[in-house]
């Protein structure tokens, strides 16, 4: 019976943090991501002040662009209750085909058209996913596993397997164009490329679509309950086509940026990084079961994963440990939210 007062005290404690911090975190799970990110950055900066050099910050910025674009697409699909594992294959197929086309047949094609083609190509492949998921009402997981193999198979069997090293000039220029330049402490000049701006632009667009258009609310409605959304008159076919088309377009864009920044089109690239991207989105607070999450959380998740992948080396943790750390964080975050939810229910 001595248990009783302790239990009562605990319950009171629980009540207390439910109204303050707990409630806030439950509503905004991305705060956890932000805190983790800050903690890691501070720890790394203390252990190795080189981290604060413009060069390493710029590295992180550059490295997050492709993952970030992928992640926005994955987030939109997760919000609607689906999942996509084919986006890397979409990116690989479009980037390689378009680079090949441009190099071979239209070396003088303006960069803006190259980008439009990449976006358009990615969108078409994405819409193909959407059409399959909707028409056969097969889980998106199965469909996109299938199309990942399919798209990659088409790329390697019909388009090409050779690295393209000599990119057309306009693509190289796009990868080089500077936004800002800094002098590092050792005097070397480092450049923050202009294409880094694509990520915030895409993020703002995604945020606007999700929060300020009927389509955006329809996407969340479908993620909440597809059956109810349909009963209320939302056209699920349109939503599927838009959603997967949008994610595909972002993947296409990510692919071409990947080529321009690496100055190389490697058909074997990208595929295999899906889990990394999905991990970033989930770490950003989106539930894998759909209907939740925010754009800002997704970006934070991307930054977190990028920072882990890029800076652990700086504090002497071998790169082989990156996966371990990312995995541990995902499990910790998952456990944290499950515990919170359970407390809230009781």
């Amino acid at each position: 019976m001595t248990l009783f007062p302790i239990e009562k005290a605990r319950a009171a404690e629980r009540d207390d943090d439910r109204v303050s911090l707990g409630g806030f975190i439950r509503k905004h799970p991305e705060t956890v991501t932000a805190v983790l990110l800050v903690v890691i950055c501070v720890v790394v900066a203390i252990l190795n002040p080189d981290f604060l050099q413009p060069s390493s910050l710029i590295d992180i910025g550059r490295a997050s662009v492709v993952t970030g674009l992928f992640a926005l697409g994955v987030f939109v699909i997760l919000a609607a209750g689906g999942i996509d594992v084919s986006f890397t294959a979409i990116a690989a197929l479009t980037m390689y085909s378009i680079t090949l086309l441009t190099t071979r047949y239209a070396p003088g094609l303006p960069m803006i058209l190259v980008l439009v083609m990449a976006v358009g190509g990615g969108m078409l492949l994405g819409m193909f996913n959407g059409l399959l998921v909707y028409t056969f009402s097969v889980p998106a997981m199965i469909v996109t596993i299938g199309t990942q193999y399919l798209f990659r198979g088409i790329l390697l069997a019909f388009v090409g397997t050779v690295w393209i090293m000599a990119l057309p000039e306009q693509m190289l220029a796009f990868g080089r164009a500077p936004m800002l330049q800094f002098a590092n402490s050792n005097g070397a000049v480092v450049t923050l490329p202009l294409y880094v701006l694509v990520l915030p632009a895409a993020a703002v667009l995604t945020w606007w679509i999700l929060n300020r258009t009927l389509m955006g609310r329809a996407i969340f409605a479908m993620g909440g309950s597809a059956r109810v959304a349909e009963r209320l008159g939302y056209n699920l076919r349109t939503i599927h086509l838009f959603l997967f088309g949008f994610a595909g377009a972002l993947a296409g864009l990510a692919g071409i940026i990947h080529v321009c920044s690496n100055r190389l089109a490697n058909p074997f690239d990208l595929v295999g990084t899906e889990i990394n991207v999905i991990a970033a989105v989930v770490l950003g607070g989106a539930r894998i079961t759909g209907g939740t999450g925010t754009v800002i959380g997704t970006l934070l998740g991307v930054l977190l994963v990028t920072v882990i992948n890029n800076v652990l080396v700086m504090v002497g943790i071998p790169s082989t440990w990156q996966r371990f750390v990312v995995g541990a964080f995902i499990l910790l975050a998952a456990a944290f939210f499950v515990v919170r939810q359970r407390r809230n229910r009781s």
Binding site: E7, T213, A218, F220, A221, V228, L232, G233, T238
Partner: protein
């Protein structure tokens, strides 16, 4: 529309509506009149055509023959768009809310969707969203504050969700709101609020059509009764002119009186004794005992702790302190498997989600608890033994089918409930906890479930019935314990107590009853 309602008071009229599904004649010449500002109660047993007639009104299905007159215009069938455009809104039993969207979005997004004729590539008018949602929420008595408008629906208690669903229905200028079993999962206090909302809707000249099993509430709301039996409308008229027994008789076609089912007497031997059981903050220091062959009723408001008490005894959510002993032996119940080992069976309130495997057969559902015992030395399940057990249970529980290979999902609510109770008989339980045993079950099936409960008590099983349905407790139990604020506040003899006694204990403020 306004001029129509002046010249002809009737908003919607069904004339000689027939509906056949293949060989099934679901509606046989139904005549109905719905007038604005009135309340209607559509009553009938499961499968009598209630939901079919609602679907005819909402345009979800087309009648095989007959005429529908809507606002003075004649139709042979309505489309969902025609029905919605005329202001016929349905609040489904599952509420059809989108859990992850905000209250405002759930209430008012449909308006923008309909306005854009379903096109999604449009800007969201957030101002309009807020204005429409505020107005609709105010008219069902919910706060139209910013905090409430932006709270996520899945965070709301069920009663508020119910009101949000109604707010959505009236946000789009409804003329007729159809509510399918709206009070099934509400407590009395919440039902009171709903009744007020209905009065307000009627004052705004909106017609309300209830589909329900709960006669008491119908009388509270008043209005017209529409009674269905076997696809026919057997009565339509002011509710006040029918007694409960009349309606039960009209529904079932046979006479059912509200007699006391309880016949037996509990034996002296104590089966279960619970001492100072506590699970803060739900219930505290609960003491009671249950005798062999006794039927003990437990009731209280939804937040009284009665649900948590049931979950604690069954091990679903164990208590934090106190003791439980079964047959004089202390029992430590931390998981449902502990409870089962001590011979305690628990039939949950929500049989569809927590009790039954709907796609599986009656056989599989009945033998679920004893599967391990059916296996031979090699771990292979003896099908014949299982069939014998399931067939016996089916007979015991008087299922209306002998085909034990039928999926449970295809049975009526009453039969499903009997399958669930029957499953526990396979482990020869000492104690059975029945949580809301007749929720969502029609009058005829209630009768069979009550008889089954009495038979179980005769066999010496101790039964605890946790229920909101006071007549049910009075008719079936030996004693009724009333919970209020996490404690027992009354211990009543069911053969003498009245509903008023129970209400009094249930609703009294704690300080007044603790003495």
């Amino acid at each position: 529309m306004a001029e129509d309602s002046q010249t002809d008071h009737c908003f919607l009229q069904l004339k000689q509506i027939h509906k056949r599904f293949g060989g099934v004649h679901a509606l046989r010449g139904v005549d109905l009149k719905i007038e604005l500002g009135q309340a209607y109660h559509l009553l009938g047993e499961n499968g009598c055509g209630k939901s079919t007639v609602i679907k005819v009104m909402s345009g979800a299905i087309s009648p095989t023959e007959g005429e529908i007159i809507l606002n003075g215009e004649s139709f042979s069938a309505l489309t969902p768009i025609q029905s919605l455009a005329a202001g016929i809104e349905t609040v489904y039993q599952d509420l059809s809310l989108i859990p992850n969207l905000t209250v405002a979005e759930n209430v008012a997004l449909s308006e923008q969707l309909v306005h854009g004729e379903g096109r999604l590539v449009r800007r969201l008018d957030r101002n309009q969203l807020r204005v429409t949602a505020s107005a609709a929420l105010a008219s069902v008595g919910l706060p139209a504050t910013r905090a409430f408008l932006t709270s996520v629906v899945s965070d709301l208690p069920l009663a508020q969700r119910q009101l949000v669903a109604i707010a959505r229905a009236i946000a789009t200028k409804a003329k007729l709101v159809i509510m399918d079993e709206p009070t099934t999962s509400l407590t009395r206090r919440e039902v009171e609020n709903l009744i007020e909302v209905v009065a307000r809707l009627r004052a705004d000249n909106i017609a309300v059509l209830f589909v329900t099993h709960k006669l008491d509430e119908c009388y509270r709301i008043g209005g017209h009764a529409i009674v269905f039996r076997d696809g026919e409308c057997v009565a339509q008229g002011p509710l006040a002119s029918y007694s409960k027994a009349d309606i039960a008789e009209l529904m079932t076609g046979r006479k059912i009186d509200a007699h006391r089912y309880r016949v037996g007497q509990p034996a002296g031997e104590t089966l279960l004794s619970v001492e100072r059981l506590t699970a803060a903050p739900s219930f505290f220091d609960v003491d009671f005992s249950l005798h062999k062959g006794e039927i003990l009723g437990i009731t209280g408001l939804a937040d009284s702790g009665r649900n948590e008490l049931a979950l604690a005894i069954s091990g679903v959510r164990p208590a934090t302190s106190g003791s439980i002993s079964v047959g004089g032996v202390a029992a430590r119940i931390r998981y449902p498997s502990d409870a089962i080992r001590h011979g305690i069976g628990y039939v949950p309130e929500n049989r569809l989600d927590e009790g039954l495997f709907l796609e599986k057969s009656i056989l599989d559902n009945e033998t679920a608890l004893v599967v391990a015992k059916l296996a031979n030395a090699w771990g292979i399940i003896d099908d014949g033994k299982g069939r014998a057990i399931a067939a016996e249970v089916a007979k015991d529980m008087r299922l209306n089918t002998t085909d034990i290979d039928m999926p449970v999902g295809s049975l009526s609510g009453g039969n499903q409930q009997r399958v669930l109770i029957g499953r526990w008989l396979t482990i020869e339980p000492k104690i059975l906890l029945l949580h809301g045993p007749t929720v969502g079950v029609d009058v005829g099936s209630k009768d069979t479930i009550y008889r089954a409960i009495q038979v179980l008590a005769e066999r010496g099983i101790g039964l605890i019935v946790i229920s909101d349905d006071l007549p049910e407790l009075l008719q079936n139990c030996d004693r009724i314990l009333v919970m209020n604020g996490g404690r027992f506040v009354a211990d009543l003899d069911a053969s003498e107590a009245t509903e008023e006694d129970i209400y009094h204990a249930m609703l009294a403020s704690i300080s007044e009853t603790v003495q």
